[in-house]
């Protein structure tokens, strides 16, 4: 069946013994992509990447090649790898850094060579201690091997890579906040314009910020050619996509699938993938692309897992985190938990996000605890509207970055799809669902 026939591009070494070591990497043809790249001109690599049409894997889905092409013509140029994967139920980059750090290093080097960068920064979420340790030791091995540093493989191309652990802020995954954080400042997203770090980025220099998964594709693209990559998938969604399947499935985990060739139903119910809903329960709702994306009902199970079709359904593929929730899920509690996360990670710059988020959290908590009023539904929607005017998708925003507008979708989806469930909370004065199955310690966070 098509789902399993596709080549695995970024995950094929995951799960193999000591996959994070140089020895294992070299045994599997490691650094051949870099060697091939160094024999090409930067423009040739850029052409291959354009041909491959690699969409950024961090969530926004912007073509990597196009992004590189927007670099301002000044020196120095920096490459920053965004490994600050911090959204609940998103864990694909985590696995890639931990399981195959050399692939990340090789991909970063190819990218840096192609864009003429003079330094690479890999910003890794601080709560990934093992990933940081493995990446750092892989880097040390790579230096010793001659793949990083001065005169890489005798090619005349020299560059250093710095691993920078984050300090615990989700917002530092926003690319401009990441750059501020790298510069040693408080992680505030930068106000736009300038709209792209490619114009003004790290320390004011042109900077490319690419996701871990995006650059991890590069060694394969260089070795196999952009055309082969583009042959996978469909439309704009080319290649494979690493999907982090979480939630109420029997087999949660990372699955690399050819893009646009499988549906949500395949992903959730295929015995080789999600294996179906836990305890034989009924699927209630899917969060299709991370907790900031609008929810989809079970009637959307058969849309294909591609950027375009999920967008057409009114949501987004995002970073590839899929969360099916079963019928025992309280949508008020789910929205509360999601909003609580975003609010507590709000950097605090913009009033609508900082205060609106806190307010939403408090209203949802009140409704969940049975102290809601019918008018709270309107209030929730209007507060959402003041954070993201129109509460539509893609979201309009009253804020500097999209963290604020990440809150309304779960609230609005809940109210629009499960209005009666909200009203039940209000009318019965209690939550009709059983308490969390989570350990208490987690439930209270």
């Amino acid at each position: 069946m098509t789902i399993t026939d596709a080549p695995r591009i970024v995950t094929r070494r995951l799960g193999k013994p000591a996959s994070w070591t140089l020895a294992a990497y070299l045994a599997d043809g490691g650094y051949q992509g870099l060697r091939a790249a160094l024999a090409m001109t930067p423009d040739q690599i850029h052409d291959q990447v354009n041909t491959a049409n690699i969409l950024g894997r961090g969530g926004a889905g912007f073509e990597a090649g196009r992004k590189w092409g927007m670099l301002a013509p000044s020196k120095p140029v920096y490459l920053t790898i965004n490994g600050d994967e911090s959204e609940p139920a998103t864990f694909k980059d985590h696995a890639l850094i931990e399981g195959d750090p050399h692939q990340l290093i090789e991909g970063s080097l190819i990218c840096a060579y192609a864009i003429g960068a003079s330094q690479i920064f890999v910003y890794v979420r601080g709560e990934f201690p093992l990933a940081i340790e493995r990446l750092q030791s892989a880097l040390n091995e790579a230096y010793e091997y001659g793949a990083v540093g001065h005169e890489i493989f005798g090619s005349g191309f020299s560059i250093d890579i710095v691993v920078h652990p984050g300090a615990g802020a989700y917002i530092c995954g926003e690319e401009t906040a990441l750059l501020e954080s790298l510069e040693g400042k408080r992680g505030y997203p930068r106000i736009k314009p300038p709209f792209f770090p490619a114009a003004i980025g790290l320390y004011g220099a042109p900077t490319i910020v690419n996701n871990v998964e995006t650059v991890s594709n590069l060694p394969w693209v260089v070795l196999n050619g952009g055309t082969d990559f583009a042959a996978l998938g469909e439309g704009r969604s080319t290649g494979t996509k690493l999907l982090a399947l979480a939630g109420h499935v029997k087999r949660p985990g990372n699955y690399e699938l050819e893009w646009a060739k499988a549906t949500f139903r395949d992903l959730i119910f295929d015995p080789g993938l999600g294996g179906g809903i836990r305890d034989g329960n009924e699927l209630k709702v899917i969060i299709p692309g991370g907790v900031s994306s609008p929810w989809l009902g079970p009637e959307k199970l058969d849309i294909s897992l591609s950027n375009e079709s999920i967008a057409a359904a009114g949501s987004m593929a995002g970073s590839g985190s899929v969360i099916p929730m079963d019928h025992t899920t309280c949508v008020v509690r789910a929205a509360w938990r999601i909003v609580r996360f975003f609010h507590r990670e709000s950097c605090g710059q913009c009033t609508p996000c900082r205060e609106g988020g806190g307010w939403l959290e408090k209203i949802l908590e009140r409704v969940e605890r049975g102290q809601g009023r019918e008018s709270d539904l309107d209030l929730l929607m209007d507060v959402c509207d003041n954070i993201s005017p129109g509460v539509a998708w893609p979201p309009a925003q009253t804020t500097i970055c999209v963290l604020g507008p990440s809150m309304p979708p779960s609230v609005a989806a809940g109210i629009q799809m499960f209005r009666d469930e909200y009203l039940t909370h209000v009318r019965e004065g209690r939550c009709p669902f059983p308490p969390d199955r989570l350990p208490l310690r987690l439930a209270r966070v």
């Binding site: 990670e345 605090g348 009033t351 609508p352 307010w359 008018s375 003041n386 309009a396």
Partner: protein
């Protein structure tokens, strides 16, 4: 409550909205519009307020935009909010401040902008106008967003307006009224914090009231460079915080209180003192130092309660230093002199004005009879407004018959040199490609000038070169800091201006550094442009332990650079005005030399002037110590704490047979006086002030005199009357009219010009070209600097009082500018006595006068002082220090043991602990640890105090702050030497058993 909310956001919400969601959606919107209309005029009513930032080069182009349907021409590159302000359309705002970079944080200024991809909400403070832009500030979408933001801001705001100091002048209150929702739908518990918490000695923080606009945080970092406060935490727990254990100790902390748009930051001295609507207000100039910052003075129940910086574009940009802001309380301190006193034996006894004046006149008369005018000396006068300085200068010359007058207390520079140098303005210093400082630590002594220079270096690319004996607060921003050996700066100045490369070390500075600076100076010679100075030298006294002649010689050398201009860094109050008006030996009012102006002033004053140039303060004190001074008049002067050499000061005061002190506060010198006359303080009287640039601004009266204190001009006039000369002044206007008539510097500068709407920022003298620079009235921006009420009603306008007086002044050629030879200024001789040749009752007229009269012809108007023609001799370069001794540097700190600071309880303890700073190797050589006590000994005295190791100080130098309580550097300094050497020894005698 929330059922009554209008405007359901979505169809889903609409369906559930009860039918009773009665108030028609349109009604509240209409209310909002109505409120806006009534409020808007307030925002532009006053002339006090905030100027837009200076136009950047290349901003001349305009773009056509539409604001609320009205076509508007905006400057290209302008933010939307500025273009709207210019067009009279007010966009609500919190985080935006016209003197800081926009950050777009509060989102209050969201407006709807029609762009290529349809309309979108944009922060007006962060998006520049572009051609064809269609801006809607009050569309449904924009209003919904603004209302939403305001509702959000109030979610966690405690709404404790009745007990909040900001209530009544609060941008949050005002904009909620104008742009906010009528009621809150928030029913949850608000955020709570411990409150208020002190973040410094002067500022309290109430985090519950804070709306996280970041103005304070940005000010501290961006404007003042003291990034000691920042945001901590996330989400609605975001708080402004200091680093644990590190308070927000900044010289500029009061500004964050001023610009806080809510009551989150409050100043300790003002908390709960008054309600804004009860405050009386005038606009005036701060006289704490010589920068001349404009400020709104406010009082409650006849007592000064607060100062708020007014945005004067050429000077302070709305900022004040904490000393200027909080030192006002000194005028009501218990230390204030409120009643005249005369000495009876060992005691000063309170007497009536009549008795005191008689005693003073008798003492002065006796001294004059015994030793002639030359045996009388006047010290001080930089506290005075210009008018009073002029009257004292005149009284000294024609009543007391002495040229022994000096507004500087041995801590300045030779007046004739300073007055003769080409002048620069602050704006010119801030835009010059090269600025050289040869003077004090500007951050400590002219704090707001430091802000302007820091901005120039960071934003305008100004290159700053410091010639200084020790690092300063500016050193962080300097391209080069040349730390010279005290007493050798003239050699260094010669080296950096020389045409040939430097090959050897100069004045202790490594030759490579000197050569780099020399090359830079040489480069800037070539870019000299006509019109604006290419090099601005900021000139003052670098150290009080170093005599002024070396500095003067260095200044004279720098003055020969092409395109150079000087900005005075003489620091004390109105010292620049006092010098301009003749309170210096050898200088007559109007920057005129004694001999140059003799004929002119003898004609106008109707009396002979002293024949010989008089003594400066040092000369007077030394003469007094030798018994040659019969009477000293101390005009707001305390030589005991201000003269660099306490030994000389004490001997001088003791040696004078008689002394009169005219002062506001009891000082050590006042205690030794024979007659004490209470003077009105700054806020208790009117007058004019001259700042470091020569900018004359208006000082307003806000409160009544303390006790029976008088303004100085009245004291001087009454004293003159008792000495037999009736000066004939009945008002300040009389005096100023005389000044503008006789002083070539002040020609044409009438009160109407200084206080007129067209010259709110003051007038630079001498007038250039078409007269006062005209900027036009600026709109008050209560959102930028809340708390400044519309000042028009409160300001005592001198213009109105002057209508008659101006009409009475004879026509004059004043506007032709100073120094016009042969200018015919007709007018009466001012002063009691007429020249003997003049027929009684005759009116002198100029040469152009038609009728022949039996009067002396009016002499030609004197020219202003110029540069001394020849370079000054580089005299008295001290030899190398004796083996083992260090050369002393002593400079003022903002907080010190000075009378004014010590009279304010909130400020008295802010001064640094006395300590001597030396190079670590010095301490290592002594075997003394950092922080341990040492003895600092000079030929004059000895101090025991802790030593601080500081690697930035050269090994041969010791730095001791000036005049700290418990450690007076003046006790060590020998003012007769070019530089003072000290020995630093361990305070523990060698061989002493510490444990025993």
């Amino acid at each position: 409550m929330s059922e009554k909310r209008r405007r359901p956001a979505t169809p889903a919400a609409e369906s559930s909205a009860p039918a009773s969601a009665a108030p028609a959606p349109a009604a509240p919107a209409a209310e909002v519009v109505a409120v806006r209309l009534t409020r808007r005029p307030l925002l532009t009513e006053s002339g006090v307020g905030t100027a837009p930032p200076p136009a950047r080069p290349g901003d001349a182009a305009t773009v056509n935009v539409t604001i609320d349907g009205r076509p508007v021409q905006a400057k290209s590159g302008q933010w939307i909010i500025q273009a709207a302000d210019d067009a009279g359309v007010y966009i609500p705002r919190f985080c935006y401040h016209p003197r800081m970079k926009p950050v777009g944080m509060c989102r209050m200024c969201l407006v709807e902008v029609e762009g290529p991809r349809g309309s979108s909400l944009m922060p007006a403070c962060y998006n520049a106008v572009s051609e064809g832009m269609e801006i809607r500030t009050a569309s449904e979408t924009a209003k919904k967003a603004q209302e939403g933001v305001l509702e959000f801001l109030l979610v966690n705001h405690p709404l404790d307006c009745p007990v909040c100091d900001k209530g009544g002048e609060c941008p949050l209150q005002d904009q909620t009224l104008a742009y906010g929702p009528g009621e809150s739908r928030f029913v949850e518990e608000k955020r709570h914090w411990e409150k208020p918490t002190p973040i410094s000695e002067l500022v309290y923080l109430d985090r519950e009231r804070c709306i996280q606009c970041g103005r304070c945080v940005r000010f501290a970092d961006e404007v003042a460079g003291d990034a000691l406060i920042d945001f901590a935490e996330r989400g609605d727990r975001t708080e402004v915080a200091t680093f644990p254990g590190e308070p927000y100790s900044s010289y500029f902390s009061g500004n964050v209180v001023q610009i806080c748009p809510v009551g989150a930051l409050t100043a300790k001295p003002y908390r709960f003192k008054a309600r804004p609507w009860d405050l009386d207000q005038v606009e005036s100039t701060c006289t704490t130092c010589s920068v001349g910052c404009r400020a709104a003075l406010q009082s409650s129940s006849g007592e000064l309660t607060r100062l708020i910086g007014v945005d004067s574009d050429p000077v302070n940009w709305g900022w004040l230093c904490d000393k200027g802001r909080f030192a006002y309380a000194s005028s009501s301190s218990p230390n204030r002199i409120s009643v005249p006193m005369v000495r009876r034996g060992d005691e000063l006894v309170e007497v009536s004005w009549a008795e005191a004046l008689l005693a003073a006149a008798a003492g002065l008369d006796a001294a004059k009879n015994a030793g002639g005018g030359r045996s009388i000396g006047l010290i001080g006068g930089s506290r005075l407004p210009n008018e009073d300085a002029y009257v004292w200068a005149k009284v000294a010359r024609i009543v007391l018959g002495t040229d022994n007058v000096d507004a500087q207390l041995g801590d300045g520079l030779p007046a004739e040199l300073v007055l003769g140098l080409p002048r620069a303005t602050i704006d010119q210093a801030a835009t010059a490609p090269l600025v050289i400082t040869l003077g004090p630590d500007i951050k400590d002594e002219l704090a707001v000038l430091y802000l302007r220079l820091r901005h120039a270096v960071r934003e305008n690319g100004t290159q700053l070169i410091e010639l200084t004996p020790a690092p300063t607060g500016m050193s962080r921003y300097a391209a080069e800091t040349l730390i010279y050996r005290p007493g050798e700066v003239a050699t260094l100045a010669a080296a950096i201006t020389s045409a040939s490369p430097v090959t050897g070390d100069v004045a202790g500075v490594h030759y490579e550094t000197v050569e780099a600076v020399r090359a830079q100076v040489e480069r800037s010679r070539k870019i000299a442009e006509p019109g604006a100075p290419s090099i601005v030298v900021i000139l003052g006294r670098p150290s009080l332990a170093e005599s002024d002649d070396q500095v003067a010689a260095a200044a004279r050398i720098l003055a020969d650079l092409p395109g150079v201009a000087f900005l005075s860094a003489l620091r004390r109050g109105n010292v620049n005005g006092a010098l301009d008006l003749g309170l210096a030996p050898g200088v007559l009012p109007g920057r005129v030399g004694l001999d140059q102006g003799r004929e002119w002033y003898e004609y106008h004053w109707g009396s002979a002037l002293p024949e010989r140039r008089g003594l400066d303060t040092a000369g007077m004190l030394q003469a007094a110590a030798r018994g040659h001074i019969g009477a000293l008049v101390l005009i707001g002067a305390d030589p005991m704490s201000d003269f660099p050499d306490s030994n000389v000061a004490l001997k001088g005061l003791l040696g004078s047979h008689f002394s009169v002190a005219v002062d506001t506060h009891i000082t050590e010198s006042v205690r030794r006086a024979d007659v004490v006359l209470p003077a009105a303080a700054w806020s208790e009287r009117r007058g004019t002030f001259t700042n470091i640039e020569g900018r004359i601004t208006w000082l307003s009266q806000l409160v009544t005199d303390h006790g029976v204190a008088w303004p100085d001009w009245m004291i001087a006039s009454e004293l003159a009357a008792r000495l037999g000369v009736d000066l004939g002044y009945t008002s300040l206007e009389d005096i100023w009219n005389e000044i503008t008539t006789v002083s070539p510097l002040h020609a044409g500068v009438g009160y109407d010009l200084i206080s007129g709407q067209q010259a709110r920022d003051g007038v630079l003298v001498p007038l250039r070209g078409e007269g006062a620079e005209s900027r036009g009235p600026r709109p008050l921006d209560p959102m930028a600097d809340p708390g400044i009420a519309s000042a028009e009603l409160h300001q005592l306008s001198p213009t109105s009082l002057l209508v008659v007086a101006v009409a009475m002044v004879p026509e004059q050629d004043g506007l032709a500018g100073p120094g016009t030879d042969g200018a015919a200024v007709g007018g009466p001789a001012f002063g009691g006595q007429r020249p003997t040749s003049a027929a009684a009752g005759s009116v002198p007229v100029g040469e152009s006068g038609g009728e022949e009269r039996d009067v002396a012809p009016m002499p030609p108007r004197p020219t202003l002082l110029g540069l001394p023609a020849v370079a000054m001799p580089v005299a008295n370069e001290p030899g190398p220090s004796r083996e083992g001794s260090l050369r002393l540097v002593s400079r003022h700190t903002l907080w010190d043991g000075g009378t004014q600071v010590q009279a304010v309880p909130a400020l008295a303890d802010l001064h640094p602990e006395p300590a001597v700073r030396v190079h670590p190797s010095v301490l290592a050589g002594l075997g003394v640890a950092h922080g341990e006590s040492v003895r600092v000994t000079s030929a004059k005295g000895m101090l025991t105090l802790p030593a601080i190791a500081d690697g930035a100080i050269p090994p041969g130098t010791a730095v001791l702050p000036w005049n700290l309580p418990g450690a007076r550097a003046a006790d060590l300094i020998d003012s007769s030497l070019t530089a003072t050497d000290v020995r630093v020894d361990s305070a523990v005698p060698e061989g002493a058993d510490v444990n025993g």
